[in-house]
């Protein structure tokens, strides 16, 4: 009797496990299968009708993507723009983040919320203004122009991450270094810098990702010479060649996977989204 009850109980527990793993793996498939299907689409030929997998494989679509969609150009545009945006954002954010994180600033909370405002207002609202201003300044369709537009949305991020990094610096460590007779410069290079480097790195990773994926602001400031990856994807979807678009997507997704890897290794993901609690 008890043996039977025990078996029943174990069966139930196993059921629960089965249920849990079904849920987790469905979730996994729901997130990832779109990419798998893109991958298959990009190497498949004659994949029509009710087929799970493409019947023939080919690399033609990649050749097309490289020649017709001008991938090398797009990729270099995207990376150049992201690099400029990251550099400017970081340069803006370092002093400002330091001031917000470590100095007495009047009305700090208000100031922080104001600086974060661009992340709370739909980008399309100021993108309209930026487009008009940049048009007058002849910044439209230049790498610098598109990058500057990206800074509007990257800089608040960088400031947020850096100010919380600087705030977390342990005063006592710095003091100890000073007491030990280290000069300010030495303290900075040997004590402060190693402590804040992870924070700066995560700020760079986040701003890079933001810029690399930014669509709205790019769409309002781009031109034939500054087509970036999201814009190219958008145009390709409009053109309707799904196979070529898929090939293009697979090429363009590689840097993102690298970032994903970095995020997972280097920084806590909650920092990626955090900081809005106090808004």
């Amino acid at each position: 009797m008890t043996a039977l009850a025990k078996r029943y109980w174990h069966a139930l527990i196993n059921q629960k496990k089965l249920f849990i793993y079904t849920f987790l793996w469905s979730f996994f498939l729901w997130i990832t299968s779109p990419f798998l299907i893109i991958l298959l689409k990009s190497v498949g030929r004659n994949w029509f009708g009710k087929r799970w997998l493409p019947p023939e494989l080919t690399l033609d679509w990649y050749k097309w993507a490289l020649t017709i969609a001008n991938i090398p150009q797009v990729l270099s545009n995207t990376l150049i723009i992201a690099a400029i945006a990251v550099t400017i954002s970081t340069l803006l954010a370092l002093p400002t983040g330091w001031a917000l994180g470590r100095r007495k600033v009047p009305a700090k909370e208000v100031l922080t919320s104001i600086i974060l405002l661009p992340r709370m207002i739909p980008p399309i609202a100021y993108a309209l203004g930026i487009a008009q201003i940049f048009y007058r300044l002849h910044l439209v369709d230049t790498h610098l122009g598109v990058a500057l537009a990206h800074v509007a949305i990257c800089a608040p991020y960088a400031i947020l991450v850096l100010s919380s990094t600087f705030e977390g610096l342990d005063e006592r460590v710095l003091e100890a270094a000073a007491v030990c007779g280290a000069s300010q410069l030495r303290t900075f290079f040997h004590v402060t810098l190693p402590l804040v480097l992870p924070g700066i790195l995560s700020s760079i990773i986040f701003t890079f990702t933001t810029s690399y994926n930014e669509f709205t602001l790019t769409l309002m400031t781009y031109g034939p010479h500054t087509i970036t990856l999201p814009v190219r994807t958008y145009l390709a979807v409009g053109e309707g060649y799904w196979e070529v678009t898929s090939a293009l997507s697979i090429i363009l997704i590689i840097p993102s996977l690298f970032v994903l890897f970095m995020v997972q290794r280097q920084v806590q993901p909650e920092k990626l989204v955090g900081g809005f609690k106090g808004v």
């Binding site: 009710k50 917000l100 739909p122 609202a125 100021y126 203004g129 400031i159 994903l260």
Partner: protein, 282 residues
């Protein structure tokens, strides 16, 4: 003397703050002003003042439909994101086999370019995609379901793209929760379900809400996703873009007026949401 150093310190603080402030004013505040002024100009002119653009939209039933659609999409996808994130976080917290992989999976939608995700989603949920193949061949349905370019499809895509914020925040709040609370409740006689209902959920509610604010903001301002997957459903961002992308000559003033309305709506909603968030724990 101290007055002097004080002044000096303030000056240094101001100098340090100024790059960030310059960025803010130059790239956000000034553009917003330009948008605001443009919204108050008669269409196609650079002088003169009018409230006509606002009046036109606010009395237009189509426009009201757009606002409802935008709110519907944002609220529904936020709600569904919470429904997905809470069980996901509860399971991942116990570190089941492969939990690292699932954690990484949560990050995918916010690191991979949204448009590529959208493309894959269109392929996956299309009438010849794997989802419909599954329905037809495994579940023996007669005809494929239409998901793409429907409201349901749009909600699915929104949740896919924006649930990460809620999930990450919920998970990190849950992991910061002292397991002693649950233990105390269990020993006091609560079933696992009661522990969840009376202890865990109320305690992680602030985390869930602050994550879902991010999901809501992203969904409310969503542009690229509805632009290519929305079909005839055009939430505010897309409607604004159409004003300058389709009409010739571009209707900048109309677009600006809509953008100002959208910004105002979002700010109002956020303030409302923050109120709930900051309410002392009941």
């Amino acid at each position: 003397m101290s007055h002097f150093t004080n002044k000096r310190q303030n000056l240094i603080t101001f100098l340090l703050l100024s790059p960030g402030l310059a960025g803010f004013f130059g790239l956000f505040f000034y553009p917003m002003l330009v948008t605001l002024f443009r919204s108050l100009r008669p269409e196609g002119q650079t002088s003169g003042w009018t409230l006509g653009n606002y009046a036109a939209f606010l009395s237009d039933p189509d426009f009201r439909g757009i606002i409802w659609l935008t709110f519907f999409l944002a609220i529904t996808s936020t709600f569904l994101s919470i429904l997905l994130s809470v069980p996901l976080a509860l399971l991942l917290r116990r570190k089941p086999v492969g939990h690292r992989l699932f954690r990484l999976t949560i990050l995918v939608p916010i690191t991979v370019p949204g448009l590529i995700g959208a493309l894959g989603l269109l392929l996956f949920w299309g009438s010849r995609g794997w989802f419909n193949l599954l329905l037809l061949q495994v579940f023996r349905l007669k005809a494929p379901l239409t998901i793409n370019y429907t409201l349901t499809g749009l909600v699915i895509f929104y949740v896919w793209h924006y649930f990460s914020y809620t999930a990450i925040t919920t998970l990190s709040t849950l992991e910061g929760l002292d397991p002693a609370f649950e233990e105390a409740a269990r020993v006091a006689g609560a079933t696992p379900w009661q522990v969840l209902r009376y202890i865990v959920i109320p305690l992680i509610m602030p985390g869930i809400l602050s994550g879902s604010v991010l999901t809501f903001m992203a969904a409310f301002g969503a542009f690229s996703i509805p632009l290519i997957t929305g079909g005839n459903y055009r939430p505010l961002s897309v409607a604004i873009y159409k004003q300058i992308g389709i009409f010739i000559p571009a209707r900048w003033s109309a677009a600006s007026a809509m953008a100002m309305i959208m910004a105002a709506l979002q700010v109002v909603f956020l303030i409302f949401y923050m109120r709930i968030l900051r309410r002392p724990m009941a």
